[in-house]
């Protein structure tokens, strides 16, 4: 009996699924597709971005560019193997007007490929892969977050300014890590420093002990790393436990300490990082954003929430200029390209490759916050290498 009901339930579910998507097409709403991770390692980031995006939309009375928004969400699981299929769910099945996503760079690149092929308007609210606003740049692809190069380039200058001559870098061997290290190295060596060794380990391996031993043997002036999430927590703890915190200073791009400070505990305190957002930015838009966010979701916002919020702001500007009509692409893109986005991170504009030209902050971990120390580089623009637009 069980099997019969199961079979009928599958077929029914399928029918209902098809029917509901076709019925919805009749209404005249702005169809926004959110493709973000809601399960797996980056689930917390996906939720924060969604919250930020929806906060802006709700502040607008549920509208973007004057049109009521209907959301379509797909959990991309941060799984590149399913990326193309997942984005097709939004583009081909749900026929969304706008695509928003995602966290994982590999998945975002698969999304960008589909967006280019189908000429769907797309905003990247996190993934920092340099290619998205480099070789893969396109008139219909925008980014409200950062490029991997940006935050670590700033750190390269900071480390050199602190009179460190030699640095060992360590990261996972994947695009985000590699590009961060490249950005750091570019700035650091331009200022006269030397990266003596680039260590890598496969993503998402977290057995760091052999590398710590090697770092201790190399005795560089400083260490630069790129890690995020669980790996970041473990690395920082291991680094401290190996006694290296007292002998060799540790620097990183800000993802090391975002959303991870609580888990790091004592080991995370005092870490110096660079990022395009920090706790304690004193501008009106940040204060109102933080207040509204905390009220709506009962948690403090983080950099990911800001990026989601700004993605919605960016779209609102473009759509408003086009009278809410996604097909008036020229006006829409023009407005987005020239927009001044009043972001909680500070007002920013977009580069010709559609990446934020933004201030990068120097931050220091205190308690559960990445406290603003200073503006490291003002209005830093990604070089957008390989972009032919």
């Amino acid at each position: 009996m069980l099997f019969v009901s199961f079979a009928s339930f599958v077929s029914k579910a399928l029918l209902v699924g098809i029917a509901s998507t076709t019925a919805a097409q009749a209404e005249d709403k702005l169809r926004v597709g959110l493709m973000l991770p809601y399960t797996g390692t980056y689930a917390a980031l996906g939720n924060a971005i969604t919250n930020g995006f929806k906060l802006q939309v709700e502040g607008n009375g549920g509208k973007l560019g004057g049109r009521t928004v209907e959301f379509f969400t797909v959990d991309d699981e941060s799984d590149p193997a399913k990326a193309t299929e997942n984005v097709n769910k939004l583009v081909k099945r749900d026929r969304v007007d706008v695509l928003v996503g995602t966290v994982h760079s590999g998945v975002a690149m698969a999304m960008a490929k589909v967006a280019r092929e189908t000429n769907t308007l797309m905003v990247v609210p996190n993934a920092g892969a340099d290619e998205l606003t480099g070789p893969l740049c396109a008139p219909n692809i925008f980014r409200s977050s950062f490029s991997n190069w940006q935050s670590s380039y700033a750190m390269g200058r900071e480390v050199a300014a602190r009179k460190h001559k030699t640095v060992v870098t360590l990261t996972w061997k994947y695009a985000a890590g590699q590009q961060s290290v490249d950005g750091f190295k570019e700035a650091f060596e331009k200022e006269g420093g030397k990266v003596v060794k680039e260590l890598t380990l496969p993503f998402p391996n977290v057995e760091f002990q052999p590398f710590l031993t090697e770092i201790a043997a190399l005795k560089p002036d400083a260490v630069f790393v790129f890690f995020a999430g669980a790996g970041a927590v473990k690395f920082v703890k291991d680094y401290a436990a190996a006694g290296l915190r007292t002998s060799i200073p540790l620097y990183a791009s800000g993802f090391l300490t975002d959303g991870t400070l609580e888990a790091m505990g004592e080991a995370g305190q005092g870490l110096v990082t660079t990022l395009h957002y920090a706790d304690g930015i004193l501008n009106a838009q940040n204060q109102s954003f933080r207040l509204r966010y905390a009220k709506a979701y009962k948690v403090q916002p983080d950099v990911y929430a800001v990026q989601g919020f700004d993605a919605a702001q960016l779209l609102d500007i473009g759509l408003t200029a086009a009278g809410g009509d996604v097909t008036r692409r020229a006006e829409l893109q023009k407005a987005m390209e020239t927009a001044q986005i009043a972001s909680p991170r500070g007002t920013f504009t977009l580069s010709r490759a559609h990446n934020p030209v933004q201030d990068i902050y120097l931050r220091k971990a205190e308690g559960k916050e990445n406290k603003l120390v200073a503006v490291s580089i003002k209005a830093l623009a990604d070089p957008a290498r390989g972009c032919k637009m």
């Binding site: 099997f3 399960t39 490929k113």
Partner: protein, 320 residues
């Protein structure tokens, strides 16, 4: 009676699959193509699990090698020839299966399961850690391969419909090939090995060689599926080789009922449908998926293929 009912069912199913792309739903056409590709993949594993008695838990490796071979054989800035990349992928995957088979077939039982898994992980790390295929970030197929033979263009894979039909043809040919293979002397021998390997050896069959051949053929067909997958989605990552994929395809085969090609195809379709439906319902859809798997093992031995018989018995419709 049974024969006629099942061939009518098959005919209706094939007709439905051929007609479906006319519904003009690009997404569901693609989903259908994906389900059929996974069906090819599941068929290849069923040859091992269901007919040769080799429970491979690393079958995704050959699927992935087929996919990578397709992308790596294609030029970067021009469409590749389908007649190069497809056979190339099949040969590459078959060759890999042959080499790995030499190792894994030295073991049996639980060992075999674990060793196939471990070798698949090894292949996974080859693509994940080295620069061969873009590392953990994956690699793109920029253009769909061209089916042109000189001036003659039999079909165009850029057209979603034609692509779906091409996959349909591939599935039917694979199915036919495997059904035919089972009736061949070789096929009888591997079925004999599954049922009683010791006896086969005593009769004079070099059983390891037969198993190796079956392992290679299954790997090659998995490579075909992987190649089609790469062509369909244009993007290949190491995750295609991960042990979750090996688990999923095993699930399709068992869900459908091992030792039944129709079951494997049905299992693949059921798997895709479940994934689609569950993930539409809830973010925690994997919980449902896990629940279904556990329930299927406990309450549905023999899989979907055994369902008609079980139902008949339960309702007593066909007694005597």
């Amino acid at each position: 009676m049974k024969f006629r009912a099942s061939s009518v069912a098959l005919f209706v199913a094939v007709a439905a699959v051929i007609v479906f792309p006319f519904t003009d739903s690009a997404f569901y056409t693609e989903l259908l193509a994906k389900a059929m590709i996974l069906a090819i993949f599941a068929l290849s594993l069923d040859l091992l699990v269901g007919y040769t008695g080799l429970v491979s838990f690393g079958h995704a490796a050959y699927f992935g090698i087929g996919a990578y071979a397709t992308v790596l054989l294609a030029p970067k800035y021009d469409p590749a020839s389908l007649w190069v990349v497809l056979p190339g992928a099949v040969v590459a995957a078959g060759l890999a299966a042959l080499i790995i088979g030499l190792f894994v077939l030295r073991t049996r039982g639980i060992y075999f399961i674990m060793v196939t898994l471990a070798f698949a992980q090894m292949v996974y790390y080859v693509f994940h850690d080295t620069a061969i295929g873009g590392g953990s970030d994956g690699i793109y197929l920029n253009f769909k391969p061209s089916a042109a033979l000189g001036a003659f263009r039999p079909f165009d894979l850029e057209q979603a419909r034609q692509q779906c039909w091409f996959v349909t043809a591939a599935l039917l040919i694979t199915w036919w090939f495997l059904a035919r293979l089972l009736r061949s002397p070789f096929g009888r021998a591997i079925v004999g090995i599954r049922s009683n390997e010791q006896r086969m050896r005593a009769l004079g069959f070099a059983t390891v060689r037969y198993k190796l051949a079956a392992f290679t053929i299954a790997g090659a067909i998995a490579g075909l599926a992987g190649s089609l997958y790469a062509i369909l989605f244009g993007f290949v990552t190491p995750e295609l080789l991960s042990w979750h994929q090996s688990g999923n395809v095993l699930l399709m085969v068992i869900l459908g009922g091992i030792g039944s090609f129709a079951g494997s195809v049905g299992g693949a379709f059921a798997f895709v449908a479940m994934q689609e439906v569950f993930s539409g319902w809830t973010r925690h859809w994997q919980l449902l998926m896990g629940g279904v798997i556990v329930a299927a093992v406990l309450f549905l031995p023999g899989g979907l293929a055994a369902l008609p018989g079980r139902l008949k018995r339960a309702f007593g419709a066909d007694r005597g």
